[in-house]
């Protein structure tokens, strides 16, 4: 039967789902076959009738508005913190921020720590150089009233020296020192056979040091640092920690 191969393809043809070549051949057959043409017409009519009939149910506008609101409520632009998703994001952001802040703080601490470390090792070097020097001091005195005026005009600040009478400490003398290109005073004290250097610089010149007061040891030297009246004091020596503490108390009291 001539119609046989076409009847199976008629639906697909009318749905636009067969290749162009086959479609042309089927069109040719439809022109020649009244039965198939009538069938095609019936199917097309049915397709159109179903299309028209299927459009039947219209949603309630209030329902549509409800869905729209529900989508908008889940949208972050309606509020970063709205909805479950929003809070999850907030936690993520908070975590990232916390990591960054902790990282930043750690970096700053390490950097500052390294900066301070560097200053102290520089001062320890200076102290060692002073110990090794044939002329450890520029101004020799056992009297604080000679040493202090000597610094006038040599450094951009002045400081007070303690009364050492009755203490085991002896002021050997002083010299001008430099730290981070800033001039300061180096005072040399002696307690028994040990020498202690006390460095005094302007606090504002030393951005690396932020701790108010530090006790530590560097290369087995005892180190003390504190600040007073805008000045930063560093004390370095191989004497006992108690000696350094006592001398620092005397200096603080005088300052």
């Amino acid at each position: 039967m001539a119609c046989e191969p076409w009847t199976e393809k008629l639906d697909a043809y009318l749905d636009g789902e067969i290749p162009a070549g086959e479609a042309r051949a089927l069109q040719q057959h439809l022109r020649e076959c009244a039965t198939c043409a009538a069938e095609a017409l019936a199917t097309v009519q049915q397709k159109l009738a179903v299309k028209a009939a299927a459009k039947r149910f219209v949603p309630d506008p209030a329902f549509r508005a409800r869905i729209e609101r529900s989508i908008a409520a889940r949208r972050p632009s309606a509020g970063l913190f709205s909805g479950r998703l929003g809070w999850l994001r907030v936690f993520e952001i908070a975590t990232v921020a916390a990591v960054l802040l902790i990282g930043g703080a750690l970096f700053l601490t390490l950097r500052r720590g390294r900066g301070e470390e560097r200053l102290i090792s520089e001062l320890v070097d200076q102290h060692v150089a002073t110990l090794a020097s044939a002329n450890p001091v520029d101004v020799i005195s056992t009297d604080r009233h000679t040493v202090k005026p000597w610094f006038a005009g040599k450094i951009p600040f002045t400081f007070n020296l303690p009364e050492l009478e009755g203490s085991p400490f002896v002021l050997v003398g002083g010299r001008v020192s430099y730290l981070s290109q800033s001039p300061g005073a180096e005072l040399i004290f002696r307690v028994r056979q040990h020498q202690i250097s006390v460095f005094i610089f302007r606090e504002e010149e030393l951005t690396e040091v932020r701790e108010k007061e530090t006790l530590r040891t560097a290369l087995s030297f005892e180190v003390r640092t504190w600040h007073h009246n805008g000045l930063r004091y560093f004390m370095i020596g191989d004497a006992s920690p108690q000696d350094l503490d006592r001398l620092s108390e005397l200096l603080k009291a005088a300052g």
Binding site: E4, T7, E8, L10, D11, A12, D15, E17, T35, A38, E39, L41, A42, T43, Q45, Q46, K47, L48, A49, V50, K51, A52, A53, A54, K55, R56, F57, V58, P59, D60, F63, R64, R66, I67, E68, S70, I71, A72, R74, R75, P76, S77, L80, L85, R89, E92, I93, V96, A97, L100, L101, G104, F107, L108
Partner: protein, 197 residues
């Protein structure tokens, strides 16, 4: 300086996250809302009940929005969301009832049936037969009803129907062919009743 950098980084991250999500949500709205009326119509045809249709559409939108990040851009969104709607319906009480009443042998024959050779005059549907066709469509078994709606009303390609119903294209063709015949028979039956046969 470091504080400034930290703040900038936080702002940057916030911007990336928020704009990414805004983009997703924005495009979801843009893709899904134009389909709202049609999805509702389809849902109502499936459930045959206004309240159930609203519940079904609402659940579909919730699921689609939730699953939207997994939707691959460039693929067929319409088929995707219709599939969600249909799957949601099939697992609902009404859906389970509908599928339970479908004859078991419906899909057993993959062969495409030849078009019906009835007298064209008696079955030539007119658009004016709207109510009759609606009645007949409502009486069709669910697989026939949905495939006809997707093809004729949604004007989906066989490929899209195949994706939406998760069946091979061959099955789409055979089911469509049977559905058309079933609809004609249903209309004829209704016409017969009306004419007092």
């Amino acid at each position: 300086m470091w504080n400034y950098r930290n703040k900038t980084a936080v702002r940057w991250f916030t911007l990336v996250y928020v704009s990414e999500e805004r983009l997703l949500s924005g495009s979801f709205e843009e893709l899904a809302m134009p389909l709202f009326d049609r999805l509702y119509n389809f849902a109502h045809w499936l459930t045959q009940d206004r309240q159930e249709a609203e519940d079904l559409v609402q659940e579909t939108y919730v699921k689609a929005l939730k699953g939207f990040p997994s939707f691959r851009p460039g693929t067929n969104f319409r088929a995707w969301i219709y599939q969600i709607l249909r799957n949601t319906f099939l697992t609902s009480r009404t859906g389970l009832k509908s599928t339970a009443t479908v004859p078991l042998d419906m899909e057993s024959d993959e062969q495409i049936l030849p078009a019906v050779k009835d007298t064209p005059g008696s079955i030539l549907l007119q658009r004016s037969d709207r109510q009759l066709v609606q009645e007949a469509l409502g009486r069709l078994p669910l697989p026939y009803r949905e495939v006809l709606l997707l093809c004729e009303f949604e004007e989906m390609s066989y490929q899209e129907i195949s994706a939406t119903l998760a069946i091979p294209i061959g099955t789409v063709m055979s089911r469509l062919s049977r559905a058309r015949r079933a609809l004609r028979e249903a209309v004829q039956g209704l016409q017969g009743t009306e004419q007092g046969y």
